[in-house]
């Protein structure tokens, strides 16, 4: 039972980080499908950098940087060059898939996976529960109240929400709409990049296309969680739980494939059940253009 709990926390970690990231982007009105690509890029960057430096911390920092870069590309395309936000996100995801595979050949001479990386070793001093819970998971959980504070209690958060709801109103008060949106998107890159780092460091490998749709599931969790940090936490834990069931649920008559389908089925059910009632930021996906 305890093992299932820890497994849930671990599988939920990348979803939670990406979901919180998506929240900062979408609260500002920018749809961020690029989360998937950011997770993948983050995973690859963390594995590669920590393989060459031997430092997991360096890997995470590099993944955050890479995530911010990819997010910046999304912001550039959708805010500056007015590309449809969904199209830009999907394009970035395809780019990330090709690019990580290509770079894997260059760095590791393999098309499938990286060599083993150590990841974070549990400090000797910490024992018991903490050894079971990776440091990045703890960071992700701490990020929830911090994100709530930033979103609901700070100047940046207030402006971000105003920009995502009614950019014309924000503009009329002298707020620089696109700048605030850029900050939100970059923050989503930072968080989702860290989420990607967790994927490869926790598995001790980078595997081709290892994000496997988690960016999209994080977006579903964002909707399911009604764009609130606490809601995102609850939704990602639920998704994490169903994904973890695969390793723990053994029912002889139930084919294992059905268990593996659970997270995706649940995503659809959750979205159908909630999407009518869950109201996102009013100006989500609509580019603000000053006349």
């Amino acid at each position: 039972m305890i093992a299932l709990l820890f497994a849930t926390l671990r599988t939920a970690t990348p979803l939670l980080l990406a979901g919180l990231g998506g929240m900062f982007s979408e609260r500002g009105g920018v749809v961020n499908l690029a989360l998937e690509g950011i997770l993948l890029t983050g995973a690859f960057t963390a594995a590669t950098v920590s393989y060459y430096t031997g430092s997991a911390t360096a890997g995470v920092l590099a993944a955050i940087l890479a995530g911010a870069l990819i997010a910046g590309l999304h912001a550039l395309m959708s805010l500056k060059f007015r590309v449809d936000q969904v199209v830009s996100g999907v394009a970035i995801n395809m780019l990330a898939m090709g690019l990580t595979e290509f770079l894997m050949w260059i760095f590791f001479d393999s098309g499938s996976n990286s060599p083993r990386v150590d990841g974070f070793s549990s400090p000797e001093a910490l024992s018991g529960i903490l050894t079971e819970v990776p440091i990045l998971t703890i960071c992700a959980l701490l990020a929830v109240p911090i994100a709530a504070w930033v979103l609901f209690r700070t100047r940046f958060g207030l402006r971000l929400r105003s920009v995502g709801e009614h950019p014309e109103a924000a503009d009329s008060l002298g707020i620089r709409v696109h700048l605030v949106q850029l900050q939100g998107v970059l923050l989503s890159g930072v968080l989702a990049g860290a989420g990607g780092a967790f994927l490869s460091l926790n598995a001790h490998y980078f595997v081709k296309n290892m994000s496997a749709g988690r960016g999209y599931i994080a977006l579903a969790a964002l909707i399911f969680g009604k764009w609130h940090p606490g809601g995102v936490l609850a939704a990602t834990l639920l998704f994490g739980f169903t994904e973890s069931l695969q390793g723990h649920l053994h029912i002889s008559w139930l084919p294992v494939r059905f268990v593996q389908m659970l997270p995706y089925v649940l995503t659809m059910v959750a979205l159908v059940g909630v999407i009518g009632r869950s109201k996102g930021p009013l100006a989500l996906g609509r580019l603000f253009v000053k006349d």
Binding site: R159, A169, S172, L173, G174, I175
Partner: protein, 505 residues
């Protein structure tokens, strides 16, 4: 605070929106800036507020020439503007909306107590009652307008611009707003009120400045001004204010609505037990504060929504729930409330809009293909008969003025034999000249024996045109009054629910 404009000019592609305007807003007075739609009032104010930059000319604030690169610089200069459309974020609280963009900070976060205090201080001083923690989305339109005023005051504005502030207010709320404006003036603030409602100007303004087609026509003291003079200055000719409404004998019932009900749904105001009869040659007005079921009622009758209970009879025959196309074929025509979203396809050109809904009629198409010549002549004929001012048939509709857009819809909807016209806010946002035209047209239809259901938020318009007026309040028809026996005052009480028992008739 005094602001003088010298030879201010600003052009947009194709038009000179503001053309060599020189005028002075003296300190501590209420100035009315009047003119038809498209006269350049809002553009002029946006120049002062820094949202637009002039092509040439000077803006002189307190004897110093200023050039604002953006509205934040105008705000820093103590200029504030309340926009025609609410610039409020519904999901934020009143206090958050007020401080947005100029937030008080404490320990890295927003000082929420200071924000609340700012709201309480300003609202208390000028006599408004607003809860700082209420969500703006939950407020009534009147209260939302107070929040806009508080926003401007919070930024310390001494020069306050109000762009059509009463458009969405009830008469009582509008009167209260005027009270506030006078109080602000007595505090020494300078107020500019953009409007095209002459009664407001006459009630409130110390000075009146008139614009026409981008140019400045002249100024006149508030006491010396009267409606015919102002209208002549605005339009450039004499304007009839009240269209003659001849006495007509009513014909047979054209539209009967019996106990009509619509359930509450997301995005749908419920209707309960609506019953009325409109006879041929009668205009039945519907009064009410926006969002009390007007849109739903109009859409049920025109087939855009389907009622769940009750019945409708057209010339005595029961109507099943109709598809809008079928409703049009039967002679129920609709001038929708939102002409830009429901009435027209803005990106399409004029002639296509003129035949929208009859694409497959034999008059314009054969075997699924348009007959360009027939289409052109039909469009020309309709444009001529409704005096739509256009440069050519391929012109995009969004380039037309509001008045011409509305004429376009009338030209299309009235081109056929019809029995019932549902006209929702037919003069909203159109200029004085076009209002006169629309009113004449509706009266002419009445003389021809057409039954009309008229929705309007302008009580004076309802009183001038309708034979009877029903008041819609929270989805119920709470009373039906003879237009000749009531006035704005009484209707104002009914539409706000101040007088509210359901009549048992």
């Amino acid at each position: 605070m005094k602001i003088a404009l010298e030879h201010l000019t600003r052009s947009f592609p194709g038009i000179r929106a503001v053309d060599d305007v020189s005028l002075e807003f003296t300190s501590g007075r209420i100035h009315a800036l009047v003119g038809e739609n498209g006269a350049g009032k809002t553009t002029l104010m946006r120049l002062i507020y820094g949202m637009l930059r002039p092509d040439s000319g000077k803006i002189i604030v307190e004897d110093r020439e200023r050039s604002f690169a953006g509205s934040q610089e105008a705000i820093a200069c103590r200029i504030g503007m309340v926009h025609q459309h609410f610039m409020l974020v519904d999901t934020l609280s009143v206090a958050e909306n007020v401080v947005l963009g100029a937030e008080p900070i404490k320990r890295g976060g927003i000082d929420r107590e200071a924000a609340r205090e700012a709201v309480r201080g300003d609202s208390g001083r000028i006599g408004l009652e607003v809860d700082p923690d209420a969500l703006v989305g939950d407020l009534s339109v009147g209260q939302a307008q107070w929040v806009e005023i508080l926003k401007v005051l919070y930024r310390g504005a001494d020069f306050l611009i109000f762009d059509e502030p009463t458009g969405v207010l009830s008469p009582q709320e509008a009167r209260f707003l005027f009270e506030i404006l006078r109080r602000l003036r007595d505090e020494g603030k300078t107020i500019v009120l953009i409007t095209h409602k002459l009664d407001e100007v006459l009630a409130l303004a110390d000075e009146v400045h008139v614009m026409r087609r981008g140019g400045f026509v002249g100024s006149i003291g508030g006491r010396e001004a009267d409606a015919p003079t102002l209208a002549r200055m605005m339009v450039g000719r004499d304007v009839l204010f009240r269209v003659e409404r001849p006495v007509e004998t009513l014909g047979a019932p054209a539209l009967e609505v019996r106990n009509l009900c619509l359930p509450r749904r997301r995005d749908q105001h419920p209707l309960s037990g609506i019953s009325f009869t409109i006879r041929q040659g009668e205009i039945f007005g519907i009064a009410g504060v926006e969002g009390n079921g007007q849109r739903e009622l109009a859409e049920v009758i025109t087939g855009l929504r389907h009622h769940t209970d009750g019945e409708m009879l057209l010339e005595g025959e029961a109507l099943p729930p109709l598809h809008p196309r079928r409703a049009r074929e039967l002679g129920v025509r609709h001038v929708p409330a939102d002409r830009q979203r429901t009435g027209l396809v803005l990106q399409m050109d004029l002639k296509d809009n003129l035949i929208l809904g009859e694409e497959d009629s034999a008059a314009v198409s054969r075997w699924g293909l348009f007959r360009p010549a027939a289409l052109t002549s039909l469009a020309n004929e309709r444009i001529r008969s409704f005096d739509v001012r256009v440069s050519d048939l391929e012109q995009a509709v969004d380039e037309l003025s509001g008045g011409n857009q509305q004429k376009l819809i009338l030209a299309r909807e009235l081109a056929h034999e019809l029995k019932v016209l549902v006209a929702a806010h037919p003069t909203r946002g159109v200029d004085v000249g076009a209002i006169e035209f629309v009113h004449r047209e509706l009266i002419a239809l009445r003389s021809r024996g057409l039954a009309q259901l008229l929705f309007s938020s302008e009580l004076s318009e309802l009183l001038a045109l309708s034979d009877r007026i029903g008041v819609l309040y929270k989805g119920r028809l709470v009373t039906v009054l003879n237009a000749g026996e009531t006035d704005e005052e009484e209707l104002g009480l009914w539409i706000t629910g101040a007088r509210g028992e359901v009549e048992s008739a």
